[in-house]
Symmetry: C2
Subunit: 466 residues, 2 copies
């Protein structure tokens, strides 16, 4: 199976059926994204009424193409899309991305159309993604089949977080969001109505993908509980899995059923099952990518004793509050320093600064003192993880703090917090470049550390076979 | 008392004791902020070794100034600051802002110094803010006495949220943060060690301030529980009060005691008391300003039935999930439309769109259809509040959505949600200008609506005398 999915993740050729020079058509945006994002394989626009689009020779149908394409994107209305499947099968296309909506999410008629999709590919080597999908993005192979133009949505570059989404628009919006500080992804797949390929196979693909270090999923329903549980458990051993699963109340299950035709699951049952599979839960789209990023960039802490370094006392106090009280059942402890460590810390702290935990260097703190203190924390046997704040109100601390933070983060689990506007934004960009999970609020930094801790606990249990 | 505080909020004259041409000195930054922020009253730099700073005549001491200044900022080290108080008293200065740290937060010696402060102003008309304060900001009178230069921290402009903070640095960082989308404040006061003026008097000042519509507080401890409770309850009737109070665990109480010398309170007791006083709780700095903004810009919904309008199905589903499950004990309901309303909604929705709640216009939705649907929601007796998403993946919806949202928000409680990067950021700026509380994530938008609802419930109880 994984060899097969290599054709999706890194295809040698892509056809766009319904490619169009008309900017109002989806087939125009798909082809433009493919070209602009830098895809270097063969591209076959398919449209019987055009000779050329974007300087590429256009084919009247897939039947005119003399190779089996790895990926065929069908950017046509629902019924037409289904008809074109026969061409895809004749072409021996490996993957078909069916963009059109208007299937099971609209009811009985749509369900019949989906049955037709299954019938047409049944017993063939052709696999279908969608329908009702905005497409896929694989930055490491420069593949972008998304249907929204780049002037509305920015697409992320190369990264190590894989993102599987049942919802297309939410997926696009989240990808646009994460470009703010330069975060990338290893891939994005909008599984849509998953008439054929489900989240389980995509999860398996990313599990075997060398570019992927963590996998995040947005699901409104789970297609096959047992298969998902088993695959997630397997994946969790090597790559942390984060899930945003809606339908936690009766009302939201109903909302999901109108959206993707999803069926409800009892959320408490699901919660227990996910815990056993080692899956971290997120509750909105920001948490989903926050946790995915922490887990991709950092190993879990070896215990629950956290040191906090700050140059703003209040930031340390709020962090302590959030770390030591429960969020989704997780509570951590503040590390206690030995008297030798306190003596060591005092060397670098100003007389006014606090060498208790949180360590507050105050606004007079310098990058040098900060780096020296980080080093003490990294070497300490009393510290399992570090939350380090880089705050712009401190004149003697600037972007030069990023290198010491990077060094520390290679030795001990570290999450960075940044608060503010202009200087903070540039710090967030630099921290992201350095591969340090950094967050623009105390709550988000703290919860990211909790997610890392949680994964560590789950993973140890999985390894112990419990 | 309120006439007195008028001299702080809108002073006719400000002295800066310790003003300096040396850019490394705090007295330099304070004077520069005062001048650059546009303060138009009399400014008196005080420094015996200078004749002129920033083109302003410099005085050797307050004794040389022939008027009683409304505000004297003392930007000198701790012991010197205490000595200068006698000059302030002789000058009949109304408010003294004592910037220096090194008082009770450092222990016994500092507590003695604070006792001296109290002794020196005892029985005089001079009031002290601080020590250990970064200063105050009152945009409506163009007063900025903050100690951090503008190249590190952006200061907000005029707004309707008042911000009282026990921590200075956290206050500065939060102010810098909120400038991102152009949010303003009616005032900011860092009470610091509150040796004289406490949060209760500042709360009272903002309660009577016509520019203030909501009041948010960051406190590590409460100076006088009964007085705070009583004043907060009084304020809550006309101006919503939001509190971020740390010390929820034993460990964080300890962290706070090192920071501002704060003493612990039992958090469960506090929770009940705050509820009775009508105070909304926040748990980090982002929530604090998110709720303050919602409560300043919008009245509470008259009930718990919320309509959600979106152009991304998944966004509607996650919103439903978060609205209908508990956050800090608050759960809301999805509004149910009558069949007449559904018929009306269908006129504007595309065939593929859902007219159930959430209403999903899909990526084909237009600003016209969106505006028409908003109008149906505003007129509906089945809807108490609206969460409206303005999402950039939708080609036919742009900044033109802001006007209809503004109109709707004047008729029914409305909170906007925006997800994404470039286009979303510009939408957030325009929504802020229009006075609509808008948030860059589903969780934040949903929690803001919950805060509004919560305030409505508390306020009705207060009015009923329960």
């Amino acid at each position: 199976m994984n060899n097969l999915f290599e054709a999706l993740r890194n295809p040698g050729s892509v056809a766009v059926v319904g490619a169009s020079p008309d900017r109002r058509k989806i087939g125009n945006a798909v082809l433009e994204n493919l070209v602009r994002y830098g895809y270097s394989g063969r591209i076959y626009p398919v449209n019987p009424s055009c000779n050329e689009i974007f300087g590429l020779r256009c084919f009247p149908s897939l039947d005119g193409i003399d190779q089996a394409v790895d990926v065929a994107v069908i950017a046509l209305p629902a019924e037409k899309s289904v008809e074109v499947l026969d061409q895809c099968v004749r072409n021996s296309s490996k993957f078909v991305i069916m963009v059109a909506g208007g299937f099971s999410e609209l009811g009985e008629e749509g369900r019949k159309l989906e049955a037709q999709v299954r019938a047409r590919i049944n017993g063939t080597g052709t696999r279908v993604i969608g329908p009702n999908t905005v497409g896929v993005l694989f930055p490491h192979s420069a593949l972008n089949t998304a249907l929204t133009p780049n002037d509305r949505i920015y697409y992320p570059g190369k990264g190590s977080v894989a993102f599987i989404s049942q919802s297309g628009a939410l997926g696009l919006l989240v990808m646009d969001s994460i470009t703010e500080f330069g975060m990338g992804v290893s891939g994005f797949v909008n599984i849509g109505n998953r008439v054929d390929v489900t989240e389980v196979e995509v999860l398996s693909m990313f599990m075997h993908d060398p570019n992927t270090r963590s996998i995040v999923l947005y699901l409104e329903s789970i297609s096959d509980g047992a298969a998902f549980f088993s695959k997630a458990r397997e994946a969790s051993l090597t790559k942390p899995v984060v899930l945003l699963k809606t339908g936690r109340s009766e009302e939201s299950s109903r909302a999901a059923s109108f959206h993707t035709g999803a069926m409800a699951t009892d959320d408490r049952v699901l919660d227990g099952v996910l815990r056993q599979a080692g899956v971290i839960r997120a509750y909105d789209e920001v948490e989903l990518l926050d946790y995915g990023r922490a887990l991709a960039y950092q190993p879990p802490p070896s215990g629950d004793r956290i040191a906090v370094i700050t140059t703003a006392g209040g930031v340390g106090v709020v962090t302590t509050d959030l770390l030591t009280t429960s969020h989704d059942g997780i509570r951590l402890r503040m590390a206690s320093f030995s008297s030798e460590e306190k003596d060591e810390l005092k060397k670098y702290a100003l007389p006014i600064a606090s060498v208790n935990n949180p360590i507050d260097l105050t606004a007079d703190g310098s990058s040098e003192a900060y780096a020296a203190i980080l080093n003490v924390l990294v070497e300490s046997d009393n510290v399992d993880g570090i939350i380090a704040y880089a705050l712009p109100q401190t004149p003697k601390i600037g972007v030069d703090i990023v290198d010491p933070l990077k060094v520390a983060s290679r030795k001990k689990t570290l999450v960075a917090g940044v608060i503010g506007n202009r200087l903070s934004k540039s710090l967030l960009v630099e921290l992201e470049k350095a591969g340090i999970p950094a967050y623009p609020s105390i709550g988000r930094a703290t919860n990211a550390m909790k997610a890392l801790y949680c994964y560590g606990v789950y993973r140890r249990r999985l390894l112990d076979g419990n």
